[in-house]
């Protein structure tokens, strides 16, 4: 074999099937490694933050110093050296107002490569088939572009980076920040509160149904950085919004930390649908590198008849630790959690949800599909709690696990606490394998084995996949197939 071909093959082999592993070569404004009060002051100064926010951060930092990392999840990793991380990395930009035309072409190209529509022109020009999505693009520690801001403003919808929200809508930020995930919730959330750099802020005013999908696209680029973003979505009375986030990162041998906090607030009769397609770099076949995805996501159904629905497709990250939850405070409020978690090779996932029933006639639905291949470990961990006042609460939970091969693991850990006798709580769980019959049936119809696995797995996940917004369902289906490549035969 010619040397060039050999090299090409070797590289292909190394990079596996992770399409997003490239690095963007861009000049970066980087804070020195390490965490202390000065770094936090630096972040706050860079962002020209008001005093109260700096104080809030510093208080979080002091709490974090005393907090222990959560240790109850079924995941294993070496202790994280929090002093070995850059807490601020931002692409250097020219001075002046931020408009899409002025975004660094290098960045535009990066997002184009990732298939993220951050150009408004197409949709505004009425190009057919152009997706109806507004995007906030977060690159390392900062938001680099937000599309359709003006158009959304016309109907009162605020969709902007978190930093801008702090400047332009401080009263809203102050009112809701930390109101769903308190600063001292868990060590990662506490850390995030101290050092968060950017993220997305959404406010949907009373009675408005947001006419487009809102989304944030997270990209970690710089080496040895952690990404700590903060998303806050507030849906005022009678409003409705659908939001989606996607994430990718370059392939590196070192682990990188991503510790985000997402807070959702739904007031009376409001509805928030939050979808995630998580495809952080998962590390290589031997478990070298990959993102530690330690994320706290929680929604509060504060108003009566409100609804919060989480849908997640988790295929990436070396370790996933996240439990998107709903606090069902308002009477008749509804919480939903639809999850697909795929782990292959050496990946570990400990994920699930918490449904806290407080209001009367609250209901929740949990559909979790775990797929484990290679030597991966996949845990569903979920809590359903019915408080004494939650008269007539209902929950339905279904946890299905699919195992591929005989070296992986699937674990289902449901916690159920019922303190009201009128509650109805159902839990179903199954564990299965792709049967040889199913595989043979598919290949006999001409599907190659990888295609057959992808087809069967997508069928297994259908109840969750159909919850995704149309624009992303096809992409997510392909992602499932790709994540499991090499897991048969």
């Amino acid at each position: 074999m010619p040397a060039t071909l050999e090299t090409e093959d070797a590289i292909k082999d190394l990079s596996g099937d992770y399409k997003y592993g490239f690095v963007t070569d861009i000049e970066t404004d980087l804070a020195p490694k390490g965490l202390n009060e000065d770094i936090i002051r630096l972040i706050s100064t860079k962002k020209e933050e008001p005093e109260w926010l700096l104080e809030w951060r510093l208080e979080a930092y002091r709490k974090w110093l005393k907090a222990d990392d959560p240790d109850w999840a079924k995941v294993h990793h070496p202790e994280i050296d929090f002093q070995d991380i850059h807490y601020y990395a931002a692409p250097k930009k020219k001075e002046g107002p931020k408009s899409l035309d002025e975004v660094d072409p290098e960045l535009l190209e990066t997002y184009e490569k990732l298939g993220i529509p951050i150009k408004e022109q197409e949709v505004l020009a009425g190009v057919q088939g152009a997706p109806n999505i507004a995007v906030d693009a977060v690159f390392d520690s900062v938001s680099v572009a937000t599309t359709y801001k003006e158009k959304l403003e016309e109907i009162g919808v605020i969709f902007c980076s978190f930093s801008e929200a702090v400047q332009d809508h401080p009263e809203l930020v102050k009112k809701y920040l930390g109101s769903v995930v308190p600063v001292s919730d868990n060590a990662y959330a506490t850390l995030n509160s101290a050092v968060f750099t950017d993220g997305t802020f959404v406010y949907i005013p009373k009675g408005v149904q947001c006419p487009m999908e809102l989304s944030t696209y997270f990209r970690i680029n710089t080496k040895d950085t952690g990404q700590f973003e903060r998303t806050l979505i507030v849906a005022d009375e009678g409003s409705k919004v659908s939001y989606l986030e996607g994430c990718t990162a370059p392939m590196r041998d070192e682990n990188q930390l991503h510790a985000a906090v997402v807070e959702l607030v739904a007031l009376d009769d409001a509805e928030i649908k939050y979808s995630t397609v998580q495809n952080w770099y998962p590390g290589d076949k031997d478990g070298v590198g990959g993102i530690y995805n330690f994320v706290t996501k929680r929604g509060a159904c504060r108003g009566k008849n409100s609804k919060i629905s989480w849908t997640q497709v988790e295929t990436g990250s070396a370790i996933t630790w996240k439990y998107p939850s709903c606090i069902l405070q308002g009477d008749n409020s509804v919480g939903e959690f639809y999850s697909v978690a795929v782990t292959n090779n050496m990946q570990q996932a400990d994920t699930g949800t918490k449904m806290i029933h407080i209001g009367k006639n609250t209901s929740s639905r949990i559909i979790s599909k775990g797929i484990s291949a290679g030597k991966a470990q996949n845990t569903y961990r979920g809590l359903v709690r019915v408080q004494p006042g939650a008269e007539g609460a209902r929950n339905y939970t279904q946890c299905d696990s699919l195992l591929m091969g005989d070296k992986c693991g699937a674990h289902t850990l449901p916690y159920i606490e019922v303190k009201n006798p009128s509650a109805q709580v159902e839990h179903e769980a199954t564990t299965s394998k792709i049967s040889e019959d199913q595989m043979f049936y598919c290949v006999q119809r001409g599907l190659d084995p990888e295609e057959a696995v992808s087809m069967i797995v997508n069928g297994f996940c259908k109840e969750v996949m159909q919850e995704l917004p149309m624009e992303f369902a096809v992409e997510a289906q392909k992602l499932l197939g790709i994540s499991l490549e090499g897991s048969v035969g």
């Binding site: 049967s435 040889e436 019959d437 199913q438 043979f440 049936y441 598919c442 290949v443 006999q444 119809r445 001409g446 599907l447 190659d448 084995p449 295609e451 057959a452 087809m455 069967i456 997508n458 069928g459 297994f460 996940c461 259908k462 109840e463």
Partner: protein, 251 residues
């Protein structure tokens, strides 16, 4: 089109096929009959390339190619279709998507352009009309919750769309009431053609009343012990397998 020579095959070390010789030419329909455990389904699986069925001796040539050298999915894309005795359920997998993916895999293999959703639907409607079936089953998950008759009808619909060259039908008549049998037989007949060959594996003569074979073979203990025309099937129906398999109980 298909030439099987001295074929021996085993499952888990146990020899099931003990030297099968069979030649099927284009345009012909052959029926393989035999008592339970004679190796009929094994023969069907070996032709389709199922894992765990190990060929220990002999050869199978399909359209001049060494069939045994091809993977199961390659064989399928190259026109070998197996109608399953027990079609498998694929929960959550939409029938339409499944069949379109399969059809496009074969088209790609033949160097033809893949069909988009609309063109596929056209093809499907055309085939369904030919079979006098509707496409309602394809809107559901593959075989999930189907009755026995629906499963077999679905197999025939898949076969019509995939348009194979060699059709191996494993006990397609089992579990069918007389009306379903007629519908399925009609489908099989509609797909006969001068360029195609069919191998019917069956217990009973019943199916052969509707799908008339050119040749009938009796398989017993892994060997073909008698061959003849369609009258052989009638004789078997009347006398059982006793003349060919002395110790066989009436099937």
């Amino acid at each position: 089109m298909l030439e099987i020579k001295k074929l021996h095959a085993e499952i888990g070390g146990k020899e099931i096929l003990k030297g099968i010789d069979l030649t099927i030419n284009a345009g012909e329909v052959h029926a393989i009959m035999g008592p339970n455990g004679s190796g009929k389904s094994t023969l069907a699986y070996v032709l389709a390339g199922r894992e765990g069925y190990e060929v220990t001796e002999g050869s199978v040539t399909y359209q001049g190619k060494d069939l045994l050298d091809m993977e199961a999915d390659e064989r399928a894309r190259d026109g070998v279709f197996l109608g399953f005795q027990y079609p498998v359920e694929l929960p959550g997998v939409n029938g339409m998507t499944f069949l379109r993916t399969a059809a496009n895999a074969a088209r790609k293999h033949r160097g033809e352009p893949e069909l988009d959703g609309i063109d596929f639907l056209k093809l499907l409607r055309e085939k369904a009309a030919l079979l006098e079936m509707d496409d309602a089953l394809l809107k559901r998950a593959v075989n999930v919750g189907f009755s026995g008759g629906e499963k077999k009808r679905n197999e025939i619909t898949q076969m019509a769309v995939l348009d194979p060259t060699l059709m191996v039908l494993d006990e397609t008549d089992s579990g069918l009431d007389i009306d379903a049998l007629k519908v399925v037989s009609k489908g099989i007949n509609a797909l006969r053609g001068p360029e195609k060959a069919t191998l019917l594996v069956t217990h009973y003569q019943r199916l052969l009343t509707y799908v008339e074979p050119d040749f009938v073979h009796v398989l017993a203990k892994g060997r073909i012990v008698a061959s003849g025309g369609k009258e052989l099937a009638l004789e078997l129906e009347r006398d059982g397998y006793a003349n060919y398999v002395p110790e066989a109980e009436a099937a």
